[in-house]
């Protein structure tokens, strides 16, 4: 590498440090912070995967295998809390958002670099509190990641620690959200209007608004549970006139928008990858941009569909059911736009594109089963069964995580300056894709037949479904391990990547890989749309202009 990258030099918050580790953990460079998040997140991802595997082993036969019933409750809570609060919610925004958002809009950093580092510190603190509660007192919370009252206010396990952790993680998320919104409003390169921003930035923008406006509601809800548990104000305690259903409402007012918070940046990733590998301008740029904003607005108004069987007036049910159907429309718009972009394009099936195509299949299943669950008559039957578990994982794993894997392959050369091994990465994709479907598809059937979720034991007739799932789990995990191996191997042995190995158009591909500190030697003037291709070749090449005078 001829240029100095952000790996070689950095800005730190407390002046200069000789120590390499201090140069990382006190770095206020958005790219280093992205990598800090990535390290913590994947450590926890690995833990949560192993917990999930343990549960699958437990369920391989009916009866007790390796976990006691109480441990099983703690295991699925731990799996849920880590995956939701420490992995999927922060996932794409914290890693790819931090790394790419400033570059994509032509900025040198985010608006508040020190606040950005502070968010990571909060994130780490929350993670440590969550994990430490495993080892003290009665162990990790056993409530499920939703902490439903009144059980959460009564159980002896360390619910307070888990709630505190979730609260702190929420604060980290809010601060990141504020940082991103301000960055997008203030630091776009001159000339770049809102409709000249890359679609990933649009996804982050909608996400950041949800982070700012919805997260405080869960914050206060978690505080209320803590207050309820410590001094007993009675808000969620029926013995004192409180109403536990109110907790469910407050919880889902945040947590349903939170699922869009997870998926919107992932949609943004797809909107970047599709035009690049189809070598053409994306179809319906504005409709994709606006549908992100629409999803985040309508997403606020659908939380009630989590409470269909908890007791709600018929009118409320019908309204929430209708709104839930309605929110699938902007999502559908995006899917049709992507497919229209691919239609008659000369698609290059590199690994990122392969992941995207795979996701379109799995997420479509995840999304459409969601519509099934929003149907009032059917949901009574399917509520709290494996059908919900399967739907949720098709949407979250088959949607968000697959798209995150796509992002890892797509931006890999930009992050590390080298290429991964294309063939091996494709093998990893097929392992995970097949394993994933073997793991979760049987759960749809088991759910329809009446297998309840979160049960540690089951009737013998469900054995076959659990065993197929178990096999799928092993295959999925091996695939993930293999993918990790391929990506890590590329760090050392991969070919050196050029600035723009995919022939992509957005700004991050107009600077060196890996990017230098402060990204742009000269800020470019942007007076064109982000996905301009002519005859399969990017129209604008700003590399020389940006690096002039180096």
């Amino acid at each position: 590498m001829t240029h100095k990258s952000f790996y070689d030099e950095t800005h730190t918050v407390f002046g200069h440090h000789e120590n390499k580790i201090l140069q990382w953990i006190f770095s206020i460079d958005h790219k280093r912070i992205a990598i800090l998040y990535m390290v913590v997140m994947f450590a926890f991802f690995a833990v949560a995967l192993l917990v999930a595997l343990t549960m699958r082993i437990e369920l391989f036969f009916p009866g007790e295998q390796v976990l006691s019933p109480d441990q099983f409750n703690q295991a699925f809570t731990l799996h849920g809390v880590i995956m939701v609060f420490l992995f999927i919610i922060p996932g794409i925004p914290a890693i790819f958002g931090n790394f790419l958002l400033p570059i994509m809009i032509g900025a040198k950093d985010v608006s508040f670099p020190r606040l950005n580092l502070f968010s990571w510190w909060l994130f780490l603190l929350g993670a440590i509190i969550a994990l430490s509660s495993l080892f003290v007192g009665n162990g990790f919370a056993d409530t499920g990641w939703t902490f439903y009252a009144p059980y959460s206010t009564n159980t002896e396990t360390n619910v307070i620690a888990a709630l505190t952790a979730a609260y702190i993680l929420g604060m980290a998320s809010i601060l990141t959200g504020i940082n991103f919104v301000v960055t997008i409003h203030r630091l776009r390169a001159p000339g770049m209007g809102f409709f000249k921003m890359p679609l990933f930035v649009w996804g982050l923008y909608s996400t950041a608004w949800i982070q700012v406006l919805a997260t405080p509601v869960i914050g206060i809800t978690l505080i209320l549970v803590i207050i309820e548990k410590t001094i007993g104000i009675g808000i969620f305690d029926p013995a004192k006139g409180g109403d536990p259903i109110l907790y469910e409402h407050l919880f889902w007012i945040y947590s349903h928008p939170a699922v869009y918070l997870m998926i919107l940046p992932a949609f943004g990733v797809v909107s970047e990858i599709v035009p690049t590998f189809c070598r053409r301008t994306i179809f319906g740029y504005r409709s994709i941009a606006i549908s992100s904003a629409m999803i985040s607005i309508i997403g606020y108004l659908v939380w009630g569909h989590h409470l269909f069987s908890s007791g709600m007036s018929e009118w409320a049910k019908v309204t929430f059911s209708f709104l839930t159907f309605f929110v699938s429309i902007p999502t559908g718009i995006k899917f049709f736009d992507w497919i229209a972009t691919m239609y008659k394009g000369s698609i290059v099936m590199k690994t990122p594109m392969l992941w995207v195509v795979g996701t379109i299949v799995t997420f479509a299943i995840g999304g459409l089963t969601g519509v099934v669950l929003a149907t009032l008559g059917i949901t009574t039957h399917l509520h709290d069964t494996y059908y919900v578990v399967a739907h949720f994982h098709y949407a979250m794993f088959g949607g968000v995580v697959f798209m995150m894997f796509a992002a890892f392959h797509y931006w890999y050369p930009k992050f590390v300056g080298r290429m991964y091994d294309e063939t091996k990465a494709k093998i990893a994709f097929w392992m995970i894709f097949i394993g994933f479907n073997v793991l979760w598809f049987p759960m749809f059937i088991a759910g329809i037949l009446g297998m309840p979720r979160r049960y540690f034991d089951y009737l013998p007739e469900f054995t076959i479904y659990h065993q197929i799932s178990g096999v799928g789990a092993v295959l999925t995990l091996s695939g993930i391990a293999y993918m990790a191996y391929v990506l890590i191997k590329g760090l050392k042995n991969g070919e050196i990547a050029s600035a723009n190995p995919w022939n992509a158009t957005t700004l991050e591909w107009q600077i060196d890989s890996p990017p230098p500190l402060e990204n742009f030697r000269n800020t470019p003037y942007i007076d064109f749309e982000p996905y301009d291709y002519k005859d399969g070749v990017p129209v604008h090449n700003l590399y020389d202009e940006i690096h002039k005078g180096r």
Binding site: S111, R186, I220, T221, I235, K240, G241, P524, Y525
Partner: protein
């Protein structure tokens, strides 16, 4: 970070100059960010107000009855005290913008004094309730009707949360004075002061809603 204050200018194809905003020195951005932070505060208190509304409609009679037992005189005095403190905060900001630094500092100190008076009055109010055996999970309170238990549960939670914000506010004001002495906040660059003043506005606005909900609704019972 010592980015000297040279402004980066770039040119479009027609040769028109455009200023690139320096991410290290962007007061507009800082203010915008703080507004977004205030939105999160609104949503936080909004969640509490939602809970209050819900139980107010479920137990209207109990809520009105309990509200009548609160000391409206002390609550009213406190409202005035907080409004006066906000007045001083605003005047302080105007003084500072006009370059009258020491006047501004006096105003901030006055704001702090009034906030402390507010907290003291609040302390005596709480103490009176607690003396009567009315505090969350007390035997006397738990023996009362459901709506009354919830009213006082919310009363202590919401005024407590508001009190925490007052304490944070006092700390921020002390910090602002320190930064003025250190020269970080100057009459040219005072966005931190502006943001703290905005924060103080939020804190008093929340009280302006808490006061009628808790104290006035039961008036005349």
């Amino acid at each position: 970070m010592d980015h000297s204050s040279e402004i980066e200018i770039i040119y479009d194809k027609q040769g028109n100059p455009h200023e690139v905003i320096d991410f290290n020195d962007d007061d507009e951005g800082s203010k915008l960010g703080f507004w977004f932070f205030l939105f999160t505060e609104l949503m936080l208190f909004g969640g509490m107000f939602l809970v209050f509304t819900f139980y107010f409609y479920r137990y209207t009679d109990n809520f009105l009855e309990a509200s009548a037992t609160l000391n409206i005189v002390l609550g009213g005095i406190n409202t005035f005290i907080l409004l006066i403190s906000t007045y001083f905060m605003g005047m302080g900001l105007i003084n500072f913008k006009n370059g009258e630094v020491s006047k501004a500092k006096v105003k901030i100190v006055l704001t702090i004094v009034f906030s402390i008076i507010f907290l003291t009055v609040k302390y005596f109010e709480w103490m009176a309730e607690i003396h009567h055996g009315i505090y969350p999970d007390s035997e006397i309170l738990n023996a009362k009707e459901h709506g009354i238990i919830l009213f006082f549960g919310l009363y202590f939670t919401m005024t407590g949360l508001h009190g925490v914000h007052i304490i944070i506010g006092i700390a921020l004001m002390v910090w602002v004075i320190l930064l003025m002495n250190r020269g970080t906040i100057t009459t040219k660059k005072y966005v931190i002061f502006e943001n703290v003043a905005l924060y103080w506005d939020l804190v008093h606005m929340v009280w302006v809603f808490l006061f009628p909900l808790f104290y006035i609704t039961g008036l005349g019972r």
